[in-house]
Symmetry: none
Subunit: 238 residues, 2 copies
């Protein structure tokens, strides 16, 4: 399960692109794909046709209804975006990200790389669930990578033989779902306490807060402690 990254296609539109992405992955030995709500349902005959030779990637693809579910068991999640967002997360090149992923996978982590729908790319709420952003360093005047090409460049970097860089924490990292439950609980408590004010700013504040939780690289122990702290802080409050 943990020997390679999972590539997650979020709300992909055309079956052809899913098939091409599968081929791009399998060129570099990657065969773990997850799909979040593909527009035209699943399985998809156009995807199968275009995947020729890489059908095993589609055969093993997992279907999920939400990003949260698709990356829930992963501890590190990279979101690919065309341009940097105002979300405060480390921004890596594919080379940096895949070197980082190799080191994490080697130490037993489960990592995922998310790719958005063809036209619009990932929504901010999707990116908020990631721990890192991947942006391909391109011509500032021109960005035009299609879905399969974005997949290709990351798969290529995964396949590149390189010494692992960076190091991870000794303590086991919290999974996305554990961080999400923590974030849910803080959000609810803060909602009850009237923190998200004024109302027109509430949604933006929530995204900023979600983004912070997922960026911090919390360990499982941190999550437990933060649950305990909140519980204790709330005790005796009406």
């Amino acid at each position: 399960m943990a020997e390679m990254p999972v590539f997650v296609l979020v709300r992909p539109q055309m079956g052809e692109n899913i098939g091409s992405a599968a081929r791009a992955m399998w060129n570099f030995g990657l065969d773990r794909m997850r799909l979040v709500s593909p527009r035209d349902g699943w399985p998809n005959s156009r995807a199968t046709a275009l995947a020729s030779g890489a059908g095993r990637v589609l055969d093993g693809a997992e279907l999920h209804e939400s990003v949260a579910e698709a990356v829930g068991d992963c501890t590190t999640v990279y979101a690919t975006t065309a341009r940097s967002r105002d979300l405060t997360k480390p921004v890596l090149t594919p080379a940096e990200a895949m070197a980082d992923a190799r080191a994490r996978v080697a130490s037993g982590e489960r990592v995922a790389v998310m790719f958005g729908p063809e036209r619009a790319g990932l929504e901010n709420e999707d990116v908020a669930r990631a721990t890192h952003i991947i942006t391909v360093p391109v011509n500032p005047e021109f960005f035009s990578l299609n879905l399969a090409q974005a997949v290709l460049l990351n798969a290529y970097e995964w396949g590149r033989e390189e010494m692992p860089q960076g190091q991870s924490l000794d303590a086991p990292a919290a999974s996305v779902i554990e961080v999400e439950k923590l974030a849910d609980r803080y959000e609810q408590s803060l909602e009850d306490a009237g923190f998200f004010f004024p109302p027109e700013k509430a949604q933006g504040m929530k995204v900023v807060l979600r983004n912070m939780w997922s960026r911090l690289g919390l360990t499982r122990g941190d999550v437990q402690m933060l649950h305990g702290a909140l519980k204790q802080l709330m005790r005796g409050k009406s």
Copy 2:
């Protein structure tokens, strides 16, 4: 003329692929294309349609009748091939080749990278005119890169050192003293709430919590938000 490599498409078949190759190049600032005997003539409306946004690459493309003519003014010529041939030439990865090309271009050489027709790839006679071979290191069980993808990987490697690279977080990091004040305030609130229990474990728990705050890489914005969250959580509590 000599500041970047020329990408030479040899006997390309589909106009769409010429357009896609132009887009792939321009993502990484490359706009010098040469075409050798494109099957459907030149100019090609399908190429123009697919190149959208990268039309300048096609506008400047030079048409040639033979490989010999197309690379005649170059001193170093790389031939991309799917598998190694029995031709005795140095075989490089795209990364190695583009690093080599950069050094040569910097010293005033003219370099070209040749790409073969979609199905068959370059003929041995074409490869014979090259000084080096480029082969993408792929899954030994599976090779499936189309023309635009082969162009993309080489253009990406060319751009690797030319394009702005990834950046770390651009939000200002909180200072040690700001994190310490935050930690003090949470510790005091948790102390008041009876979190540090039993007493013999209190000191150890405080150290773990301090350690967490300083490890998280909080930004100044995070610190402000966490102050605000605590204040709001405590409001109305006796």
